[in-house]
């Protein structure tokens, strides 16, 4: 009672709505027989369950992300024995890791490795014996090759499989450093439906890398590229 004889309401413990239902400690507690949680919205039980669960969800995702970052850092600094030094040091290394680990599993991978020349190195079709003629089809459904050359030759063939039975032609191959073009390349479909590439490397052709487009002669649309490295 106040000095004037009036009753006064005590100061409230809080003046705002009660919103904090989170209880520290293990989510949901352990070993306690609990009453049924009610389903009504605005009920502290309902809100508390959601709040604690979402908080735990964020905590776990963040744990996972931190762990992933730590692993990535270890891998990139070469401190782990899992993948070896420089494990994430570039696409070529990654591709080589993949090739090593998966070649045993399926021949599928062979094709992948053999047909991503821009990133993972050329599809090494054939190094022609000196003064000889070589014929090879490579390891997959790539074209059959017929090469006449007195020098070592490396052929890189970038052509989507679905075009490998189409009627195609090859432009004269040009070099960035030489005036002379490598001409007279024949591309034809053999009786077995396989593409056959005939290549004659003149003795007078300077060594270097020669590149040209493979195209559909009926429409002029490019279908791939052919690169020849002459030693």
């Amino acid at each position: 009672m106040s000095d004037q004889g009036h009753f006064e309401k005590p100061e409230p413990e809080r003046t705002g709505p009660y919103r904090q239902f989170f209880r520290p400690g293990p989510l949901g507690g352990t070993g306690q027989a609990t009453a049924r949680p009610s389903n009504g919205s605005g009920d502290p039980g309902w809100t508390g369950v959601v709040e604690r669960s979402v908080e735990a969800g964020y905590r776990i995702v963040d744990e996972q992300l931190r762990f992933g970052q730590e692993v990535a850092e270890r891998l990139s600094s070469g401190l782990t024995g899992v993948a070896g030094p420089g494990a994430v040091g570039g696409l070529e290394q990654m591709a080589m890791r993949m090739m090593r680990s998966t070649l045993d599993l399926a021949g599928l991978w062979v094709e992948m490795m053999s047909s991503v020349p821009a990133t993972m190195g050329s599809w090494m079709a054939q190094a022609a014996p000196v003064g000889g003629t070589a014929a090879s089809g490579g390891v997959d459904q790539g074209p059959a090759l017929s090469i006449e050359s007195s020098r070592p030759v490396e052929v890189s063939f970038d052509l989507e499989p679905r075009w490998r039975s189409a009627s195609l032609a090859v432009q004269p191959l040009r070099s960035a450093t030489q005036e002379t073009a490598l001409q007279g390349i024949e591309l034809e479909t053999a009786d077995d439906g396989r593409l056959r590439l005939r290549l004659v490397v003149p003795d007078e052709l300077p060594g270097g890398v020669y590149t040209g487009a493979i195209f559909d002669p009926r429409t002029g649309v490019g279908r791939g590229t052919l690169t020849v490295r002459v030693g």
Binding site: P26, G31, R36, V54, G57, I60, V61, Q64, A118, T119
Partner: protein, 360 residues
């Protein structure tokens, strides 16, 4: 490719577009059909058909929800990818998902899948295992062929993502199988969330969204992107699936009702029951879960179901799932809020609430 049949992604969702749940159903049907068409191209019709190739097509043709490939395509298109750039990856995700289902059904001793007997029930464990192996290897083919549609750099980035997802999924499955084998019951909700982050969320949501977004953004996607969104979406999906397992209509759900209790799965529902039960009840739950599925008693499983109902463990799980859906919406705004409105963006947003409408 039926790209012409696909609606223009850039069209805003307003102005006659289907509302959330209807939009989800519409997009799932449309992208699901495109994925199935692409997927069929990777299922050869060779010999031995009876023991392998016919069986490869069994689960994919039973008609799943196609949520995973649809997330991949929608995320890709929302970020600006063309359909032909993402549909191969979507097909790979669905192929791998079906391969893992075959193995999961064996590991969990599940009897049904998509309304029919599980593959190992029909053909025996050795043949089903081999079909699962073959299907998982075949899921690599579209990823290899990605080099023609998105180039070798992005194709390798998607392979890296697939490697990451496969490890996470295997770890999650291992954790769950280990809990069952060792009859682990001292678990809390955080343990469960950690397990489903790996077992479910990576393949169900994080991976498809990341793959699509990587293709659409031409590789300009941080390593953390979509992990939180995918976790909350995938976890909400998994918890609702656990609820359906106990409360669903068998004809629609397509799996054995209460199969999780028979299999001793450590679901959020079971963990809540263990937490709420008396000391004596908890001891009995532990005894009931100790034997393998074949030796579990039907009366014991009925008692578990009754205790689940008594402690409203399903209601508890529903609340958590709804909360996670809300968190997924929050993360959606963080991840995709700045992208222009599109039908695909609307689909991804609406997925969070569609989860609770589904009955299978």
């Amino acid at each position: 490719m039926r790209a012409a049949a696909v609606r223009e992604s850039a069209a805003p969702p307003s102005g006659g577009a289907a509302p959330g749940p209807a939009l989800v159903r519409e997009v799932l049907e449309e992208y699901g059909a495109l994925t199935r068409e692409a997927l069929e191209g990777y299922l050869p019709s060779l010999e031995p058909k009876r023991y392998l190739y016919d069986l490869l097509a069994d689960y994919p043709r039973r008609g799943g929800k196609m949520m995973r490939p649809s997330i991949c395509i929608a995320a890709g298109r929302a970020f600006g990818a063309r359909l032909d750039e993402v549909v191969g990856s979507a097909a790979a995700i669905e192929l791998l998902h079906n391969a893992l289902l075959i193995h999961d059904d064996i590991e969990d001793l599940s009897m049904e899948r998509r309304g029919k007997p599980a593959l190992h029930v029909l053909h025996g464990v050795p043949i089903a295992l081999n079909v699962g192996d073959a299907l998982s290897l075949m899921s690599l083919r579209p990823l290899i062929e990605n080099r023609w549609s998105i180039g070798p750099r992005l194709a390798l980035a998607i392979l890296e993502e697939t490697d990451r997802m496969a490890r996470e999924s295997a770890e999650g499955q291992a954790i769950e199988l280990g809990w069952i084998r060792d009859n682990v019951v001292d678990l809390d909700d955080a343990d469960y969330f950690r397990m489903i982050l790996k077992k479910t969320c990576w393949l169900a949501a994080i991976h498809p969204a990341r793959v699509g977004a990587i293709i659409g953004s031409r590789g300009a996607l941080g390593t953390d992107r979509f992990v939180r969104f995918g976790f909350f979406l995938g976890a909400s999906f998994q918890i609702h699936d656990d609820v359906l397992n106990l409360t669903g209509d068998h004809g629609r759900y397509g799996k054995e009702i209460a199969g999780d209790l028979w299999e001793g799965k450590r679901t959020l529902i079971l963990i809540h029951l263990l937490r709420s039960a008396t000391r004596e009840e908890r001891a009995r739950v532990r005894r009931v879960l100790a034997p393998t599925r074949e030796r579990r008693d039907g009366d014991d499983v009925a008692w578990l179901a009754e205790r689940v109902e008594h402690y409203d463990a399903v209601g508890y799980a529903r609340q958590v799932a709804h909360g996670f859906a809300g968190a997924a919406l929050h993360e959606f705004d963080r991840e995709l809020g700045r992208l222009p409105e599109s039908r695909d963006k609307g689909f991804l947003r609406a997925l969070a609430t569609w989860m609770f409408e589904r009955t299978r």
